[in-house]
Symmetry: C2
Subunit: 328 residues, 2 copies
C-alpha cells in the first residue's frame, strides 16, 4: 500500500479506501484512477483472502450438490449458479457429496469455515429433503429440492406446468386418447406431471381415463416393456406422454419392432430434453425441458435477495419450456 501510495501520490488511507472498494468514500475520480494505475503498474494483485478477512465476509457462495457426477443435469445447475454468482462478484465453491451424510456435513462445514455468504443446497432430482443439521443458521436456498418448513426458500421446476405443457402439445394436435407413462417413483415429478396431464385433458374437454396411466421404471427398459400396455388394447391411444426421454427411447424400440411408425401411428412426447438423447432419436423427440440452468441462476438470486432481507421466502416454481421436434 505504501508503494502504491507513493507511486500514485496519494495517502495510504486513500489507497486502502480504493482497494477495499468503499464505494461511498469521498475520493475524487482522479485519485481513484491514479491508485488503480499505480496498482497495475506495480503489478500488485489483491489478496482475496486478506480482503475477506478484513471485511468479515468472503465473496464465496457455496454450492453443495448430491451428484454432479452421476447426471448431466447437475452440471447445468452449477453453470447457471456460477454465471449469476460471477455477475454479482461472487465465486462459487462447489462440493459434490454423492448423497453421503458425512461428506455433506464436511462440505457444509468447509463452506462455513471459508465464510461463504450462504449456501445453495441442491439435489440431482427434484424431491423433499430434511434440512441438514450442519447448515445451522447459514443462509440457505434449496435448489431442485425443498423442506417442509414454510420459512425456507426453495427453487424447483414447475412439474405441474411441465406435465400440462407436454399434454397440451398433443391435445392441440387433435389427439383425444393420450396415454401417460408415469414413473413408479414417489416424487414431486410424478405427482406434479400427472396433475398437469389431468388439467390439460380437462382444458381440452377430454375425459380422464385412469387405465391410460401406466407406471413404469423411468428408464429405457420401462418404456420398452410398456409397449404392450400401450398398444395391445381395443381402444388404443394415438399419443403417449412419457415421464422422461429415456422412457420414450425404450418405447420407440418397442413401437418400431412392431413395424409401427412415430408419429404417424403413435405420437410421443418426452420430458427432460435430455442431452445426447432427445435431439438424436429417430424421429427426433419432442420434449419438455427441465430448467436446470435457470434453477441455478434463480437460486443465486434468491440467496442474494434473502441476504438483502427479502421478506418473501417460500418455494419458487420455474417454468419447464417445450422443445419441439418431430415425434408428434
Amino acid at each position: 500500500m505504501r508503494e502504491v501510495a507513493e507511486e500514485a501520490n496519494v495517502s495510504i488511507a486513500t489507497v486502502s479506501l480504493v482497494v477495499n472498494d468503499k464505494k461511498n468514500a469521498r475520493i475524487g475520480k482522479e485519485a481513484r484512477r491514479r491508485v488503480n494505475e499505480a496498482i497495475e503498474k506495480l503489478g500488485y494483485r489483491p489478496n482475496a483472502l486478506a480482503k475477506s478477512l478484513v471485511s468479515g465476509s468472503s465473496r464465496f457462495i457455496g454450492l453443495v450438490a448430491d451428484a454432479i457426477a452421476t447426471t448431466p443435469f447437475a452440471g447445468q445447475i452449477i453453470h447457471g449458479a456460477q454465471d449469476e454468482a460471477w455477475k454479482h462478484g461472487y465465486v462459487l465453491l462447489v462440493a459434490n457429496t454423492e448423497g453421503d451424510p458425512e461428506v455433506t456435513d464436511d462440505a457444509i462445514n468447509m463452506m462455513v469455515d471459508h465464510q461463504a455468504i450462504g449456501i445453495l443446497y441442491s439435489t440431482w432430482y427434484h424431491r423433499e429433503i430434511e434440512r441438514p443439521a450442519a447448515l445451522g443458521s447459514t443462509p440457505t436456498v434449496f435448489v431442485n429440492c425443498y423442506t417442509n418448513e414454510a420459512s425456507e426458500t426453495a427453487v424447483v421446476p414447475d412439474e405441474e406446468q411441465g406435465g400440462y405443457t407436454a399434454t397440451s402439445l398433443l391435445t392441440r394436435k387433435g389427439h383425444q386418447r393420450i396415454a401417460f407413462l408415469n414413473s413408479t417413483e414417489d416424487a414431486p415429478s410424478t405427482v406434479g406431471r400427472l396433475a398437469g396431464y389431468r388439467r390439460a385433458l380437462a382444458d381440452a374437454g377430454l375425459p380422464f381415463d385412469p387405465s391410460l396411466v401406466l407406471d413404469v421404471t423411468p428408464e429405457q427398459e420401462g418404456g420398452y416393456r410398456a409397449t404392450t400396455g400401450v398398444l395391445d388394447r381395443a381402444d388404443r391411444p394415438t399419443a403417449v406422454f412419457c415421464y422422461n426421454d429415456r422412457v420414450a427411447m425404450g418405447l420407440y424400440d418397442g413401437v418400431k419392432e412392431r413395424g409401427l411408425r412415430i408419429p404417424n401411428d403413435l405420437a410421443v412426447v418426452g420430458f427432460d430434453d435430455q442431452e445426447v438423447i432427445a435431439a438424436h432419436l429417430r424421429p427426433t423427440l419432442t420434449s419438455v425441458a427441465l430448467p436446470q440452468y435457470e434453477l441455478g441462476v434463480r437460486g443465486v438470486r434468491a440467496l442474494l435477495a434473502a441476504l438483502d432481507g427479502d421478506p418473501h421466502p417460500g418455494v419458487q416454481r420455474i417454468t419447464c419450456p417445450p422443445a419441439l421436434r418431430h415425434s408428434i
Copy 2:
C-alpha cells in the same frame, strides 16, 4: 486462543501450535488432546481464511473446466478430483468457463487471488491446447488435455490402448473382418484409437483393410448414415468398432431397420461407456470406458507430486477399461 488456553490449562503458544497444525512442534499428546477438547467444548471453529493468510498458502486446489455443463463426462473429472483433494485435506475451487478465453482468465485469476496451491486445467474432450497466459507460473496439471511443452504435466486417457482393447474384444470372438467407424474430427482420440485398432488387428494376424475404416460425424446421425457403407458390400464385415456409443446407437437403428440382429448378424463395440446410453440400448452395448473419474484423481496426485518437487513431469496415460455387455 486465550479462552482455549485457560480451559485446557496450557499456554497460548501451545494452543497456537496445535490449531496451526505444526506437526513437528514438540507438544505432548496429552496437551494436544486437552486443547482439542477445549476447542470442541467452547464451540470454536477454525477460521480457514485466517489460517490460510497466516500460513501463506491456502487449502485450495483450483479446477478450471471448459464445460461442466454440456457433457456428463466433466462431472466425473470433478468427482474424482474432489475425492482425492479431500483425502489430502484440500478443497476444490471449481470454475466453468464454457471455453470463453476471458472467463478462463477470470477463473484462473480468481484462483490465484485465493492462493490456490495449484490448478487443474481440464477440457471436456481430449485435445492439445495452448497454456493459457493467465496461468503464469502457477503450478498446473492439464487434465484430459496437454500442451506441446515437454516440461508440462498432463493426465490423459490412453486412446491407443482403448482402441486396442475395443478391437481385441472382437478379434478374440473370432471376427476377422472388423470395420471401424472413426470420427471425422482431428483429435488425439481419432488418431489414438485408429492406431490401437491397427495394432490389435496385427496382433491377431489380420490384415489392415483401409476400406473398412469409415469416418463419420461422432453422433447418432453419423452412425445411422454409415449403415450403408458397412453393410452394402460383398465382403461385409461381421463386426464394427464405433468411435463412440452415440455412433453405435445410430448404427443400431440402421441395422434394425434392415431386419438384421445384433450381435448375431453384426457385433458392435462402442466407446465412452456413456451414462444413460450404453447400458440401456437393445441389446446392451459393450463399450470401453473413458477413465474420467481416474483422470481427476490422478490430476490431483500429479499436482501434489509436482509441488513436492516430482522430477518427472510429462504426459501420464490412463487406462480405458472395457465394459462388457451383450452386443458382441
